[in-house]
Every structure is written in C-alpha cells, then in structure tokens.
C-alpha cells in the first residue's frame, strides 16, 4: 500500500468501517510511513478539537428568546391552543 492508496482508505479507517485484511495493510503502512502517521494523528486531533470546542454557543437568554418567538409563530398560525407560552424552565 502506498500513501495515495492509504489516503483513499482514511475515512473508512477513522470510522472503523474497514475490513480486517485491509486494516492490516493500513497498519503496516502506518508503521513504515512517518508522514502518513502524522497525517492520521493530526487529522484525528482536528476532529477532536472541533468536537470538543464550543465554536458557536447559544446563550440561554437567546435560546429563551428564540423559543418564545417560535412558539408565538406557532400560536399565531392557529394550530396550537391559544395559551400563554412559557419561556423559561
């Protein structure tokens, strides 16, 4: 397996959707290719750092305001019972 073939299998490798025979080839390549080893390590860190970070927070106050607006639109549309909408927990 060369680097190009390895890259083509990278998504399946990360997602654990690779058959055992191919996995052995991937691991063998990783054992001998430092560049691909770095690519795997830093790509995994890329995913982890995005997953772990709160890039776009929705503050509680905004969440309450959006929810109130949604419920008001629903109420006006006439499908929901015409009752007061609670906006806080």
């Amino acid at each position: 397996m060369n680097c190009t073939e390895f890259l083509a299998k990278l998504t399946d490798y990360f997602d654990g959707q690779i058959d055992p025979a191919l996995l052995a080839e991937v691991k063998q390549h990783l054992g001998t290719c430092h560049h691909c080893e770095v690519v795997v390590d830093t790509t995994r860190k890329t995913i982890d750092v995005y997953r772990g970070a709160e890039t776009y927070e929705l503050p509680e106050e905004l969440s309450n305001r959006l929810r109130a607006a949604v419920m008001e639109r629903c109420r006006i549309s006439g499908k929901l019972p015409d009752i007061a909408v609670k906006t806080t927990k």
């Binding site: 890259l7 990278l10 998504t11 399946d12 990360f14 997602d15 430092h34 560049h35 770095v38 690519v39 390590d41 830093t42 790509t43 860190k45 890329t46 995913i47 750092v49 995005y50 997953r51 772990g52 970070a53 709160e54 890039t55 776009y56 929705l58 905004l62 969440s63 959006l66 929810r67 607006a69 949604v70 419920m71 639109r73 629903c74 109420r75 549309s77 499908k79 929901l80 019972p81 009752i83 909408v85 609670k86």
Partner: protein, 223 residues
C-alpha cells in the same frame, strides 16, 4: 465544475418528508412520543422539542452560513416549518436528523440569497484539490488545547472552518461536529454515502492542513 442549483436547495418543503424506509424501531424514541403529543396540540411537548434541539440547529446553521443573524432567523424558521409539517414526520428516522435536514436546506438557501447567485450548493467546489493532498507533516505538540485558551482556540477554529467551501463545511459539520452517522448525513443532505465519504475526507484533510499551517506559524512566531 459550476453547478447551477442543488437538489437540496431547490427541494420544496413538501419533499422533506422522510424518504428512508426503515424497519420500525423496537422501542419508541422519546422524541416520537413528544411529536405525537405535539400533533395532538400539546404545546409543552413541542416546546420541549425546541428546547432539546435549538442549540444543535443554531450551531449547524451558523457553521453553514457563517452568520449569526442568519443562524438566529434559520433556527426560528426551522422549528416553525417543522411544526407546520409535523404530520410528515412518521418516526422512520430520528427527529433530530429531520430537523437538521430542514436546517441545511434553509441555510443553503440563505447562502445563495446572500451571494445573489445560484451557485451555492452541496456540489460547489467539490472538484477543488486545494488542501486535499497533505503537504504539512509537522506534528502538533503540545496539543492545541494546551497551547491556547478556550476562546482563542474557538476563534481559530471558526476562522479555519469558514475558509472551507460550503459543501465540505456542511458535511464536516454534520458528520464530525454534530456526530451524525455517514448514512444520516447522506440522508440529511440528499447525497449518496460514497459522496459523503469523499467530501468528508477532503474536508478533514483541508481543515487539518489549514490548522497545521496556523499552529506552525504561531509556534514559529512565538520562538
């Protein structure tokens, strides 16, 4: 390759009814019970669904549009449209995936309007090879989390993902940030599984390359 329109952008809301036919789940998901109550006019049940998924929908919309005001509007629109079309949700897929699908549709439409062009779609820029071939082989040591404060890192991540083409950014957001499965991502975007995998690979590699460059630059600057 410039594509004039995207199937998902042009998809009328009526077609957002679930298209995946699956075996009935062994246990009823709590969301399905909430949806049923909401269909029967239970305001509190629908409000609970909004409360559960507003953050996910807001995040998804902001990742795709890269605009906070748009994300706020889209979050409202998504839940209102979901409410209007609640009868189309039969529980064959997750309620959250159904919502995300509406959110992606709304977000791409916003992007297209903002750019006053019909070229914003899931297919745009997929032919680009930029960043898809690894060129930077520097290791990240120490890990970025150790090198930056949370707010600094969040800013770096926002700037970096903003540079990705919308088609890649959307797939990465759904698959790696919102943790949808490949199949759910494909369903939400109206793409095939191989197409999602291909875009995901390119998105991951491009982000890695951009972050690598950034971290190396900052590391060198701090010497």
């Amino acid at each position: 390759m410039e594509v004039q329109s995207s199937p998902i952008v042009d998809q009328p809301l009526e077609l957002l009814a679930e298209t995946v036919v699956a075996e009935p789940p062994a246990e009823i998901h709590p969301d399905v019970a909430l949806v049923e109550r909401a269909k029967a006019g239970d305001t509190a049940a629908f409000e609970q669904l909004v409360r559960q998924y507003d953050r996910q929908i807001f995040r998804t919309a902001q990742h795709i549009t890269q605009n906070r005001e748009d994300a706020e509007d889209i979050t409202q629109d998504v839940f209102f449209k979901a409410f209007q079309k609640l009868n189309q949700f039969q529980g064959n897929s997750k309620f959250s995936t159904w919502l995300v699908r509406i959110a992606v549709n709304e977000s791409l439409m916003r992007l297209r309007k903002r750019k006053t062009s019909k070229t914003v779609s899931m297919d745009q820029d997929v032919e680009t090879a930029e960043g898809s071939i690894p060129r930077d082989f520097a290791e990240w040591r120490p890990n970025p989390e150790q090198n930056y404060s949370q707010s600094e890192l969040a800013e770096i991540l926002r700037k970096t993902i903003a540079g990705l083409p919308p088609g890649f950014r959307t797939v990465f957001t759904l698959r790696d940030i919102e943790n949808l499965s490949t199949e759910e991502t494909a369903e939400a975007l109206g793409l095939s599984v191989p197409a999602v995998k291909s875009r995901l690979l390119r998105a991951r590699l491009q982000l890695r390359e951009r972050l690598s460059r950034y971290f190396r630059q900052n590391k060198e600057a701090s010497k």
